[in-house]
Amino acid sequence: MKLSIKNAPYIFIAPFFVLFAIFSIVPIFYSAWLSFYRVEGILSPPKFVGVNNYLSLFQLPRFLNSIRVTFIFTVSHVSIMLIIALILALILNLRIKERNFFRLALFLPVVTSLVAAAIIFKLLLSYDMGLVNLILRWMGLPGYDWLTDPKLALPSIVILCTWRWFGFHMVVLLAGLQNISQELYDAAKVDGGSSLQVTWYITLPLLFPVIFFCIVISVIGSLQLFDEPYILTEGGPADCTRSIAMYLYDTGFLRFQLGRASAIGYVLSVIIFIVTLFQIRILGKQAGFR
């Protein structure tokens, strides 16, 4: 077949649609079908149970707990991380000579794999091999069981994720700040605004679309939390760090309850969709989206 100006674009975009159909569309429909069946193990025949998989989920304390864990994580992680990222972006936006050096140093965790970061933190937070407890003991404080204390396990994961990701959002916010024209600042300075006032009344509102972008993508990522608790705490202690995705993995790949696990996949996607829509409704207007 010969490419002409008419058919060329279709051929050029065909790889996306072929691969998307095979590797995404088929599993998505297959998953929808599975979620209406009871499947215990790969070899047993599926049995139709209607919406039972969905209904029974909401009576499972472990599933409800995973929703709670995921939301507590998302809210604390996103707010702490973005506040840190924003402050650092504002600082780096001042005319600091070593800006490139600091941007590099603070971005480094972003490029390391989640698994590598989680393994390093496993050692860092370990009770008797970790640096954190070493420093605490130096200061005359007791060491803590960061990863096995039910009160500290989830905060430990928040610390790891914040460490890993703040540099990414800092760089995005910094790029947004550099898009704001200098004249606006100069005008505000002439009018006698202090730098805090200028930041609060001029910079932040102008930066809001970028902040909004950071909120939306970090919430979407946080709701799918998996790698970090998988390595760091294995969902424990006592399910304190078992996120929805961890629970899905547990149900599908360790207990082989494939129907129920597929239903969890759909519930998780609907949660992500609703939360994102909600943010666009509430915050999107201020950010200038519709």
């Binding site: 975009i13 780096l92 480094l108």
Partner: protein
């Protein structure tokens, strides 16, 4: 006079904050490296430095585990996946940037919409479906999915839109075929964007965990992250060996990052700010 002093004070404060944060981001790496140089018995109740550094953990890593094989697997997968992504996404982005065709807007929205689908929705049947396709435990299962992806097509379209169309038109008059125009005119001028996409894709593939964890079933097919996570899960994890493996797995990424940080940050902000 007084004013100058306050300015210096606040500038000093800013530097102290920045240096503290930089210490917080760098220290975990430092701790990982020095832990990899410790003897097993010295891991407990450690100090801030190493007294008698040893390479025994690295020797163990290469002799007692399949780390080299995992490293090779990760490399083959990341390189092939990246090459495919560069080809498919530049081709797709070019079509959306420079051609007029029926259904263009809808197809583009469809592609962007695909970014919204979390992998979790289809992950369970993916395993069953990919075993039917005989892809489980092969390199293909990590190379093919996502090799034509929305992010890459979007990034390429943004960049190619800025290229003047005259070059293509005159090439057409000269009787150049459509694929030749892409190959000989477009590809050479979009090198900066390809650079950004290369790093981004390589990092993603090199660090990818979930898919490799689920689809790679035997030890000899593990990628580095999956292999390391298997070592963590052992009865008594050898932390020194683990840190050695972690450190080596981070090296390629850090080298790429240091050499190509401009492209990385440019690509990231192009994607983020324009979106």
């Amino acid at each position: 006079m007084k004013k100058k002093i306050t300015i210096n004070w606040s500038l000093g404060g800013i530097y102290i904050v920045l240096i503290l944060v930089a210490i917080v981001t760098i220290t975990p790496f430092y701790w990982g490296v020095i832990s990899s140089l410790r003897e097993y018995s010295k891991l407990f109740n450690p100090k801030m430095w190493v007294d008698n550094p040893t390479l025994e953990n690295y020797v163990k890593l290469f002799t007692a585990t399949s780390f080299l094989r995992w490293f090779f697997n990760s490399l083959v997968i990341a390189v092939s996946h990246t090459l495919l992504v560069l080809f498919f996404c530049s081709l797709g982005g070019y079509a959306f940037a420079k051609y007029e065709f029926r259904g263009k807007e809808i197809l583009f929205l469809l592609i962007l919409g695909s970014m919204m689908i979390p992998i979790w929705v289809g992950i369970i049947p993916m395993f069953l479906w990919f075993s039917k396709l005989r892809l489980i435990n092969t390199y293909w299962v990590l190379i093919l999915p996502g090799s034509a992806n929305a992010f890459g097509i979007f990034l390429m379209r943004q960049y190619i839109q800025g290229i003047p169309s005259e070059m293509m038109d005159s090439a057409r008059i000269d009787g150049c075929s459509e694929f030749h125009i892409y190959y000989q005119i477009i590809l050479p001028v979009i090198k900066p964007a390809l650079g950004a996409l290369t790093i981004y894709t390589f990092l993603f593939s090199w660090n990818n965990f979930l898919a490799a964890l689920i689809f790679m079933r035997t030890k000899d097919m593990f990628t580095v992250p999956v292999g390391l996570s298997a070592l963590v899960g052992e009865q008594q994890p050898q932390y020194g060996v683990l840190m050695a493996g972690t450190f080596i797995s981070v090296i390629p990424v850090v080298i790429i990052f240091l050499r190509m940080q401009k492209e990385l940050i440019a690509g990231l902000t192009l994607g983020a700010i324009k979106a």
